[in-house]
Subunit: 170 residues, 2 copies
């Protein structure tokens, strides 16, 4: 069962996970958002093997999330940068950052990354808000309703699963 | 090189990725946010094998992201729900959802999940905004500054990497 299968699900979350829901892919995105451009720089900061980083960069380029740019001809060397599609993943990385600062650190450790909003000059923690009323959002404040195609796809998977189900381990 | 190592990085993003940056972990979170509670329900919707789902739920319980609740005694059966720490991952799943709706779907497909803000009643797409000035944020609007401990950790990794570096393949 590979994550490739997630792409077949009629669900925007599953499809996004199928493309970027992998630890090393997310680490590469972190580096690109922090300003890294070059292969060895990304390797150094992430600790990835050359094979692994090559593979992830190829996948990200194939899905149009990252673009390659030749910056040296002999030997040929490429820089990597986020496309518009890639830059649009910023909220994912910001959300991981906020959660990490809050829930995944030793007590008493100072914040590790400070974010400054260039336009207003404040150090901020980006907030998820309602574009209609401006209120800050959290999980329970929002109701998710699935479209009919998504419901049908889920029902199909559930039915297929029930036909083959054995007792649950608990 | 396992994702366990990410936990050693002095970086909130790496630490968050080390805990939830895995496709199947994220799929379990999707299910819990969509309201699934029971093992077979999560299995049916995600297509995970019992072994894989058992492992992911155990990890999520150990890291305090998910809590188990006994709902049946004979045989013993547990329900799973997000803790406060888990519910705080909502922005990650919302960000994946928004990106998936925009960038990972066939043309002409209608939105698959509609989100209604209970307080104001509008169907919305949650927006990442500046809590100081209210402006909508995107990658370039915000400057990230790393703290000294994070910079030191990155410099250390970079130096260690440079000592062992061989020519880059790309």
């Amino acid at each position: 069962m590979g994550i490739d299968e997630l792409d077949e699900q009629v669900c925007p979350v599953a499809r996004a996970i199928g493309r970027v829901g992998d630890a090393w892919t997310l680490m590469v995105l972190r580096e690109l958002f922090l300003g890294a451009r070059r292969f060895e720089e990304i390797r150094g900061h992430t600790g990835m093997s050359p094979q692994l980083l090559t593979r992830r960069l190829r996948e990200l380029t194939e899905t149009g999330i990252v673009a390659r740019r030749l910056y040296q001809d002999r030997p040929r060397r490429f820089e990597f940068e986020l496309t518009e599609k890639g830059a649009d993943l910023w909220p994912v990385v910001v959300a991981l950052n906020s959660w990490g600062e809050r829930w995944a650190k030793p007590e008493l450790e100072e914040p590790l990354i400070s974010l400054t909003h260039r336009a207003c000059g404040h150090v901020i923690e980006p907030a998820l808000t309602c574009p209609e009323c401006g209120e800050r959002l959290h999980a329970r404040a929002v109701k998710a309703r699935m479209s009919e195609p998504m419901k049908r796809d889920r029902a199909l998977r559930r039915d297929k699963h029930r036909q083959g189900v054995r007792p649950a381990p608990g």
